[in-house]
């Protein structure tokens, strides 16, 4: 049991590190605000399920007609679907409004 927890924690930390390294660093470099993108998607899609689905579709095959954040050009991210799922989960949890309103 303890081993399973350790493995899961390790996997999470790896993914969190990936998010920090791959997503945050790149977006900071390009000056594209991840929080702003999150709120723009939330305004359009409301729920976690619909928001993540829309983000995933856009990131895997960017379609300018579906682009919400207009300050950046469409960019095809070099990430496989499985990794993207994990990264988007971390992204959602990082910026979610649930539990932050007082």
């Amino acid at each position: 049991m303890a081993r399973v927890i350790v493995i899961l924690l390790f996997a999470f930390l790896c993914n969190a590190q990936d998010f920090q390294k791959e997503c945050m660093a790149c977006h900071q470099r390009k000056g594209i605000d991840l929080k702003k993108i999150y709120f723009d998607y939330l305004l359009e899609y409301s729920s976690k399920r619909a928001t993540i689905k829309a983000m995933q579709e856009y990131l895997l095959s960017p379609d300018p007609s579906k682009q919400l954040y207009i300050d950046a050009k469409p960019y095809k991210h070099k990430v496989d679907k499985k990794s993207l799922d994990k990264l988007l989960e971390i992204y959602w949890n990082r910026y979610t409004v649930i539990g932050k309103i007082r």
Binding site: F39, Y45, V97, I101
Partner: protein, 389 residues
Amino acid sequence: MDTNLTSEKSSLYKFLSLYIFLTIIIFLLASTMYYKFEKEVMLYSKLPKLQEYSKDVIRRIRAMHNSLLEDNYYPRYSNFKSAIYDADYVKIFSLLRNEKIDFQNYLYKRDRYIYFIKEPSLYYLGAKYVVIEVLDDEKWLTRVYKNILIYGGIFIVFMAIIGYFLGKQFLRPMKESFMLLNNFIKDTTHELNTPVSTILTNIETIDKESLPAKLQKKIERIEIAARTISVIYKDLAYLLLQDKIPSTIEKIDMNELIGQRVDYFKTMAEAKKIKISFSKSPCFLQADKQKISRLVDNILSNAIKYNKIGGTIKIKTFKNGFYIEDSGIGIEQSKIDEIFERYRRLSSSEGGFGIGLNIVLAIAKEFNLQIKVDSKINQYTRISILWQE
């Protein structure tokens, strides 16, 4: 007479019960519809205010959204509570007292609260549903209940009065038929008395011994038939007039009375070759002689009617009662209680209306007499009449 009036009353009560039941159903339906209508009126009267409240909340969450939640203080109001839910009905934030929301209705009341659900054009903070909850003072409900009680009560009383008169109108032809039939039976019964008495009196004056055997037999048959009609006449007269005949209480020597009644039925018993044995002990009863005579007649005539040819009838009197036992067809144990019901005939082998034992029961009740029935199928039936000293 009494039977007919009782059945008329019973029909009237049945009709009235059904009528009142239907009236109550109509009343309940009307009350429910009225309640729902008043509730809708109340809800829609609150709608403009609820919409205003929801706009306030949306305005505030839009500001929070635009600040990217740097400003994260959710609005609070003294006159209502609110909550926000996403498109999958997941709670984003709530101040509601009752968080069980019915998202299918945009305006409804649950318990003491009114709920209004507004969908903003854009999902600020991901909120697809803004729920407003206000406390209902329920003044309208008190008014509704009061109106239902007052007008419903008046309606039910009004309908009951109408129903009563309608019932009387519907039952009038039936009552008239009953009265007609009753009067006819009364008149017929009365008209029977004179000819039957004449036949019996004349037969009694005939010196049967001097007649040829064949003619003697014919006269006996006429006598039996006349006595049977006489018993039926007396039973009918008792049934029709039992309430009107006052009882004359006297000390009856039961041995003498039973002896007279045995003599009366002698010819009938002889026709079936039935032997009657009568064991006497001193036996007296304080009652009406005419009525006790009817009681004895009915038990005795049954003992002859349901006896076998060549059978026996044992009569025994004792201090506080007497019994009459036949050697006839007997009565099933389970049916003993039924034999006293009016128009109940357990055997159709003999004629009759099934009123005899009912008369016995009525007379026994009047004079506090106890009836005991012992019987064994195809062996005997013993009817004992007992009384307290």
